[in-house]
């Protein structure tokens, strides 16, 4: 399914509100587009209406007194009301003339007034009428019946504007609200989905990229729904409305104006083609430039120590120049094809318009009224607003589609449902039974591994990098699943439980302990309601963290920033020990930290490990031999196989690999 279609489907979740918004939009556009019609009516019926035939009448409503006689516009006579002699009023520039003759000329041709004679010069020769020029007062008197009507129309116009405004607000707000809801849904979907993804997804992809999909990419899509969609809807409805109005006014000219649509479309396609190419380069250069600045700030010491300032600057200038050049290309394109092109199109439309009406008007009866002309000009000017609006959103559309592609790619990754079933605490009897495991096909990192850990035992795992120590941890936690053999806890295959169920009674302390933003307390309890504050305090005390953290001003509530940045690695270690202790797991895995901590903290950590171990099956991935000397069982791993197994004393007596390692340690001492 295409990205566009899927984005559309997301929108369908909120289709009711979106349809509501569209209805409001239609009302709003309709009300707005009636405006020029009203103006047309005002001009044709009321301003020019004065040239309609007048008849002598009684002093009734709408009758105007002139020269002692009452006159009334023909179309204002009631049905059956008697009409007197006809008279006409003609306008010439700002001058008005009264012609008191029946069947007067309808008024085409160039007008001139001389010596009480009003002359119409037409192709068939001049036609003259006896006429009196009206004074300002008299003109106003003839317009008097129109004034209340005009006021009514103006008020109607305003009311329609207000209606249009209210509905426009309604649609804008509704549409934006649903757009934000759509994005919220998309974000929560993405987030729940990453909880389902296998852990190797995170091992493959840097955290920053995953985050960008959930937040930045969806933000770009939000722009799509908020800006792009509403603009497209608005433009679509608006353009349709304008054409409806144009067709009502003059179908022929409206048909000519339809030609604009394919022109606009072709232009949009061409513009988009180049703009998206340039935009793409500009955007990628911007991100390269930013990355380069960022990296330079981070590595400034190195750049300076190696005297690479100039070279760095040159590299930077190259990107900066490319960026600049493409920005100028884009600028050139925009100057040629954006607003500028719209305005030339508008001017050409005006030319067509004058040509059309002008040639129609020459030497014959006027095809249209002035009111229609006015309305036409107004509609044509308006026609170009929504078009510019669409063009301005094209770049956003492009960005949103690319972002959408990435979002759906993530959503399409296969995952496994998070389960909520729990079991009561198991004893922690762990058996690995002929377990083989590979991260990549056939490339086994654990080969036919079997061992058993009785409840409460401590198992030490030793071996060099790649020997399979960490894989054992990954399997036990079901971060990964083994391909062959089985792992049992209390006699039951762990694959029979959902992952979450099995992990519920396990604890982990990672080599590089991860702390979350919050407080020390929240990092121990992970805000889990089962872990009370007393429990947190007790746990911290039991691992000896209180000694290390005592100087912190706010104690347990001392804020922890991102990744525990202000804490030393020893402090982080102890907090993560306390976390494991507070959750009281029956199986604990400890990945010993390699980074050097100061000696005082180190001894506290050693003690804490002893505390942690009691009452649970503990696996220690050891980097220092001293840590596991007291373990019930030590597994020496080499290339995915257990080469030696037993207690420290047993392994020493064996005089094998472990013994060798130990000797090497002694050897190291002797070198000193």
């Amino acid at each position: 399914m295409s990205v566009g279609k899927r984005l559309y489907q997301y929108a369908l979740f909120f289709k009711k509100t979106i349809i509501l918004a569209l209805l409001m939009l239609t009302v709003s556009v309709g009300a707005e587009l009636v405006g020029p019609f009203i103006a047309k009516k005002m001009i044709d019926d009321h301003i020019l209406g004065i040239e309609q035939p007048w008849f002598e009448s009684d002093d009734t409503k709408d009758a105007v007194s002139y020269d002692g006689t009452f006159y009334k516009r023909g179309d204002y006579f009631e049905e059956g009301e008697g009409r007197g002699q006809e008279a006409r009023i003609y306008q010439m520039g700002t001058r008005f003339f009264f012609v008191d003759e029946p069947d007067a000329f309808s008024g085409e041709g160039e007008r001139s007034f001389d010596n009480g004679k009003l002359t119409f010069s037409t192709q068939d020769g001049d036609i003259k009428f006896g006429a009196q020029e009206l004074s300002g007062k008299e003109v106003l008197a003839f317009y008097q019946p129109e004034i209340p009507r005009i006021i009514m129309l103006v008020l109607l116009y305003f009311v329609l504007m207000v209606v249009a405004a209210i509905f426009h607000f309604g649609q804008g707000y509704t549409l934006q609200r649903s757009a934000n809801r759509i994005i919220q849904k998309m974000r929560t979907d993405l987030f729940s989905h990453i909880q389902r993804l296998p852990i190797n997804y995170f091992d493959k992809l840097p955290a920053g990229k995953v985050v960008a999909r959930i937040t930045n990419d969806t933000e770009a899509i939000r722009e799509l729904y908020v800006q792009v969609l509403s603009q497209f809807f608005y433009s679509g409805v608006y353009i349709t409305g304008i054409f409806v109005a144009l067709f009502i006014l003059d179908p022929k000219l409206a048909t000519i104006c339809l030609l604009l649509l394919p022109i606009l479309y072709i232009w949009m396609v061409i513009y988009r083609k180049y703009a998206s190419k340039y935009n793409h380069v500009v955007r990628s250069k911007v991100s390269e430039i930013n990355a380069s600045i960022y990296e330079s700030i981070q590595g400034m010491t190195i750049i300076q120590a190696f005297r690479r300032e100039q070279k760095k600057q040159q590299e930077f200038e190259k990107m900066n120049d490319t960026h600049f050049n493409y920005q100028n290309k884009l600028l050139s394109l925009n100057s040629l094809m954006s607003h500028n092109l719209v305005s030339i199109l508008r001017n050409i439309t005006f030319v067509t318009f004058i040509w059309y009406f002008g040639s129609g008007a020459i030497g014959s009866e006027s095809v249209v009224t002035v009111g229609v002309l006015y309305a036409f000009v107004d509609y044509i000017t308006r026609l170009f607003q929504p078009v510019t609006g669409i063009v301005n959103q094209l770049a956003n559309l492009e960005i949103a589609l690319v972002a959408g592609e990435r979002v759906f790619e993530l959503l399409d990754e296969e995952g496994e449902e998070v389960k909520d079933s729990r079991i009561s605490r198991y004893k922690g009897h762990v058996e690995f039974d002929r377990v083989s495991f590979a991260y990549k096909k056939e490339d086994y990192v654990l080969k036919n591994l079997s061992f058993e850990a009785k409840p409460g035992e401590t198992i030490g795992l030793v071996g060099h990098t790649g020997s399979g120590k960490s894989s054992i941890m990954n399997l036990l936690f079901r971060f990964y699943d083994c391909q062959k053999g089985e792992i049992r806890i209390d006699g039951k295959n762990i694959k029979e439980y959902p992952r979450q169920t099995i992990r519920d009674h396990m604890g982990i302390v990672l080599q590089d302990p991860y702390l979350f933003t919050g407080t020390i307390s929240s990092n121990v309890s992970l805000n889990d309601s089962r872990i009370s504050r007393d429990k947190v305090e007790q746990a911290l005390k039991d691992v000896g963290a209180d000694r290390v953290l005592k100087h912190l001003e706010q104690g347990l509530d001392e804020p922890v920033i991102e990744k525990g940045g202000t804490m030393s690695s020893g402090q982080r270690q102890l907090i993560s020990f306390a976390r494991a202790l507070a959750f009281n797991p029956s199986i604990l895995i400890l990945d010993e930290a390699t980074s050097s901590v100061d000696t005082e903290t180190e001894s506290i950590i050693q003690e804490a490990m002893e505390t942690l171990k009691t009452g649970r099956t503990t696996f220690i991935i050891a980097h220092r031999l001293s840590t596991i000397k007291n373990a019930d069982q030590i597994l020496v791993l080499d290339r995915g196989e257990i080469v030696e197994k037993g207690s420290h004393d047993h392994l020493m007596a064996l005089r094998g690999k472990y013994f060798q390692m130990y000797q090497l340690q002694q050897g190291n001492m002797q070198v000193g």
Binding site: H168, F169, G172, T188, S366, V377, D420, F479
Partner: protein
């Protein structure tokens, strides 16, 4: 508010031709904008009064076409020039900014957070660029264009009508301004909520193992939902104001049109204006809306641009901390390095980080520096790199005080491997060649061999061409350290500084690398700071620092005999320090 134009004066002066042509053309183009509606109005009058002839019609059409074409050309030119200026200043400032960063020393980077500097180099530069392009446009449009329109409306049609019809427009500008401020605040708060959400997701992803191990998926989802709800609420608040803009514009311009039509008709009745003029007037009214908005825009852009300019200038005006003296005396050969009564205190520090240090190091010697975290080991080596102004006492290289030598000259002697391994987003090869441009393939391989990276290289998907750093493959700390070491070794420097740069490799590898260095760098000076005492066993001289002072010194054996901190530490490490990691089985 318009200070920004003054602050950017140097740029406008350099580009005065560009701006003069652009502005003149813009002004002419604006006048041309006004003509078509006028012609349409006249044509309507002519049509209506039957005065239109074939030749008059042709005239209209030709004039309109000419105007259309000429203004198209002019619009292109001024747009290209004006916005081209904006692009140009963005490029110039960015280049200046980067150049400035490259001259700055650590104190500067401590005082300015990376995020802040990044914001300056992106958002603030953009804002300045907008000021130099769009800002100038709005300035012209809100003044000259508006005046052109008003004058046309006043002279050609009617002043009375013009004044009456534009009454709502300033109100509109003010309302927009107020709403603009409000939306800005709400938008900022929405952005902050979004930023929080972003941070939260980052933690959830980075801490995914912890979350899964402790079965906190549901809690995490719940927390995330709260975050998105917060973002939603704040965005809806923005949407509320945002949705007000268009309707309010409609109502207020509607009032304008209402006055234009109503009062305009009255003026037709009183024979003040013609119908065609009334039509043209309403077209102008429509054209006035943009310049009115431009006033509001102008204020925003100027304020933003000004604030950004100040921030960027604030950075650019930061003085270089370590300035080379005017007539440097650069030592010609490296004979010895000596610290005499050296003392130093970081600008941000409350205690003395180095005091009264006296050490002399002959050429070819290896100096070991040990001590607790924060005892001054790194401070000591940084003195040699001239990252900070020299403190008390004197430090000399090759018998000339480093005060008297240029930074460039001093650093040319040194190959530096820092504590925190910094690699760039480039290939392994490029990262190593960073140390020396002219190096050959063999040099690269030698450096890698010495840094004990040969085996690791085979594991990398594309060998030497493998991309590392932020965007590349994830390397272990030890691998990064070894590449950093290779980078320094390829320079074959007279002085090699290893600043605790073997902490992430195991003892065996460390011994290996140190052996290589000893063997292949005989006659050259090496300075090693370390936590692991085994690394300095072979040093010619070892100093033990504590709170910035040398508390013990001597050879390894002498220090052991001393039976003080060094001895105790050594004993402890003997027991503990045996990493099995790389033991060959």
């Amino acid at each position: 508010m318009f200070d920004i134009f003054y602050k950017l004066g140097w740029f406008f002066k350099q580009h005065w031709k560009r701006y003069t042509i652009a502005i003149v053309l813009l002004l002419i183009a604006n006048i041309f904008e006004v003509i078509p509606p006028l012609l349409v109005g006249l044509a309507i009058d002519d049509i209506f009064q039957g005065e239109l002839t074939q030749s008059i019609l042709m005239q209209y059409v030709i004039i309109l076409l000419v105007i259309a074409v000429v203004s198209y050309a002019m619009n292109y030119v001024w747009q290209y020039l004006l916005f081209g200026g904006a692009n140009e200043i963005e490029r110039r400032l960015r280049s200046m900014f980067m150049g400035h960063l490259l001259r700055m020393t650590p104190t500067f980077f401590e005082r300015n957070r990376t995020g802040d500097l990044m914001a300056r180099s992106t958002n603030d530069l953009k804002a300045i660029s907008v000021t130099a392009g769009f800002g100038v446009l709005t300035l012209i449009d809100s003044t000259a264009y508006m005046l052109t329109l008003l004058i046309t409306m006043g002279f050609v049609v009617s002043w009375k009508l013009t004044l009456a019809a534009i009454i709502p427009l300033p109100i509109l500008a003010i309302v927009m301004q107020l709403l603009g401020k409000k939306i800005h605040n709400r938008y900022t708060s929405a952005q902050n909520a979004f930023g929080d959400l972003n941070d939260r997701v980052l933690e959830s992803v980075a801490g995914v193992r912890v979350i899964r191990a402790y079965v906190q998926e549901r809690a995490d989802e719940k927390q995330f939902l709260e975050g998105t709800e917060d973002v939603y609420q704040k965005n809806v608040k923005v949407a509320f104001i945002d949705s007000l803009f268009n309707p309010l514009t409609k109502i207020l311009t509607g009032i304008s049109y209402m006055i234009g039509l109503g009062y305009g008709s009255h003026l037709v009745f009183t024979q003040t204006i013609t119908l065609g003029e009334l039509v043209a007037f309403n077209v102008y009214l429509g054209m006035l809306i943009w310049p009115m908005f431009a006033v509001g825009e102008l204020i925003n852009i100027m304020q933003r641009g000004n604030a950004s300019m100040d921030r960027v200038n604030g950075t650019l005006s930061y003085q270089e901390e370590v300035v080379d003296i005017e007539n440097p005396t650069n030592a010609s050969a490296l004979s010895a390095i000596s610290f005499s009564n050296s003392g130093f205190q970081y600008p941000s520090s409350t205690v003395r980080n180095l005091s009264n240090v006296n050490v002399t190091l002959k050429q070819g010697d290896t100096l070991g520096i040990v001590g607790k975290t924060g005892s001054g080991k790194t401070t000591f080596v940084k003195q040699l790199l001239k990252e900070y102004p020299v403190g008390e006492g004197e430090i000399s290289i090759g018998d000339v005080s480093i005060d008297q030598q240029t930074k460039d000259h001093v650093r040319a002697w040194i190959g530096y491997v820092p504590q925190d391994h910094v690699l760039f987003s480039k290939s392994v090869r490029e990262n190593i060649l960073f140390g020396s441009d002219g190096a050959t393939e063999k040099d690269v391989m030698d450096a890698l061999r010495m840094a004990h990276f040969g085996q690791d290289l085979q594991m990398l998907p594309e060998g030497l061409e493998t991309l590392v750093g932020e965007k590349g493959v994830a390397l272990s700390g030890g691998q990064k350290q070894r590449i950093s070491i290779a980078r320094a070794l390829i320079k074959d420097p007279a002085v090699l500084i290893l600043d605790d740069s073997l902490s992430a490799v195991d003892a065996k590898t460390e011994a290996n690398i140190l052996d290589n260095i000893r063997r292949e760098r005989s006659g050259k000076t090496t300075i090693i700071t370390t936590h692991r005492l085994s690394a300095v066993e072979h040093a010619d001289w070892v100093i033990v620092l504590d709170e910035g002072q040398v508390v013990e010194e001597g050879t390894h054996d002498q220090l052991l005999a001393n039976k003080k901190w060094y001895f105790q530490q050594y004993e402890r490490q003997q027991v503990q320090e045996s990493l099995l990691g790389e033991v060959r089985s």
